[in-house]
Symmetry: C2
Subunit: 284 residues, 2 copies
């Protein structure tokens, strides 16, 4: 297997006519993504991110697109549980130097809560694995029902939303999921429910969420937002019922070693004609 | 079974001569604890806390003392993992409105870390159950080695401390554990290690920990401290490498239903002559 590097700032390698497997950079710059339609023998575009909504339109017909959601699941699912626990215990407020706990105050545990994992790919499954020891009850919803894994489809949402106290959004951003978490969705959740998003900001209708946190009915913990970054003074930033982190879920030292192993494994699979992992669109 | 209530503010019930099983209040006031030596038929003192260092000296000879560590394990272990995740991701700083993430910054995941659970009773085991899905490696140390559970005794600490990156203190406070986490203990930990305490403040030598966080070598996340509460301006409060919550680990809505079921079960066990749970000193 021959390997060439191209970062967009140098002349194109002479091998462009032979490239079959193209690994995009983790942070998609303008250079490498722009030459996807200049590679006549291209068979596979391998993204290093989990979300590929910006890459899908760039992939030529009959070329497979793979993401790296099984790699990001470790770090992203960890952040999802971190956000759940920090929100339940109100860790940011409680750890302030001037916080004096009223002796009668109690906080909601994660234990005994009913949790909906919305989106049950690699990241949703990794979230569930991390929740296993916490004495909570998990419900699963994905775009396609999978009865063997007890995964319902979106049609089950009205029933499930009424009974869960925590929703963790792990769906990819597509035309079908944009704005899925809208006013009607949120209105179905019980008072005090927590909405966590580690997917993409636009899966949630920001105005609808703002209305529900500002009236004190719901809480939120968001690693991703719409818009992103949030401007100064945005109501999601100023509400005490919302914990926001600036899209850092994947940025841990768990990522690099897993990405290296994953790309190595994917290239070997391609060379040996074996099925690839994390296939988003199977063009070849 | 006859039940009388006494809160210290009313005259003693006429049943004091018959009381065999005495349930202390969750927050130990001066009243009920003071009459423990006035109950001639007393066989069992049931504390509702996990830590009983203040109760042990009040229990008459030949009377059993039980704590409720198996009840508190749910909420306390949950807080231990919350503190670990919040510290690893620096959630308090990262969620500040004025935080701008440098594109090159990455944070340490819990995944891939070697974690020492120090104290392997109900709470230590509950911490391990919650860590199970996080792709980390767990080591176990308790006051007594239990080879069948892969639990080492304190003699293994020098070897284990050198190789772990996170220590979670779950030991009871006794004369043997007071100050166990001292300067030598901390010096053995690798640079950047995280010390979490959900047990009792004095298990850690505060001055030794302050020295290690002020020189930037170690990090800490503490629900309990010595002294407690921390005075304004205490170095554990002002260090950016330390996350402090004000002894709130147990204060969730997971506690009340579990305590009710536990006390009910303990009284039935006593009445039926069955072994009690969570026995600290078996006096009868």
């Amino acid at each position: 297997v021959g390997v060439d590097r191209y970062d967009g700032s140098t002349p194109l390698p002479t091998s462009v006519d032979e490239v079959e497997f193209f690994v995009l950079p983790l942070v998609l710059g303008p250079g490498p993504a722009a030459i996807l339609d200049q590679l006549p023998r291209l068979r596979v575009v391998q993204a290093l991110s989990a979300g590929v909504e910006d890459i899908v339109p760039l992939v030529p017909p009959n070329v497979a697109l793979c993401n790296a959601s099984s790699v990001h699941s470790t770090s992203t699912a960890e952040m999802a549980v971190a956000l759940v626990l920090a929100a339940q215990r109100d860790l940011v407020a409680v750890s302030r130097r001037d916080f004096v706990p009223d002796a009668r105050l109690i906080w909601p545990s994660l234990a005994d809560r009913r949790v909906l994992i919305l989106g049950y790919g690699a990241i949703g499954r990794a979230v569930e694995a991390r929740l296993a020891g916490f004495e909570c009850e998990v419900r699963r919803v994905a775009r396609r029902a999978r009865p063997d894994e007890h995964v319902d489809d979106l049609a089950a949402l009205p029933r499930l939303l009424a009974e869960v106290e925590i929703v963790i959004v792990c769906l990819p951003l597509t035309s079908a999921t944009r704005g899925l978490v809208n006013a009607a969705f949120l209105a179905t959740l019980p008072d005090g429910a927590l909405v966590v998003n580690v997917a993409r900001g636009p899966v949630i209708d920001t105005a609808a969420l703002v209305a529900e946190v500002q009236n004190g009915r719901l809480r939120a913990a968001l690693d991703v937002t719409d818009p992103e970054p949030l401007p100064t003074g945005h109501p999601l930033r100023t509400s005490s019922a919302v914990l926001v982190t600036p899209h850092v879920a994947g940025r841990t030292n768990a990522l690099a070693p897993r990405l290296r192993d994953f790309v190595h494994d994917q290239v070997l699979r391609y060379v040996h004609g074996e099925p690839l992992h994390d296939v988003v669109t199977d063009g070849y």
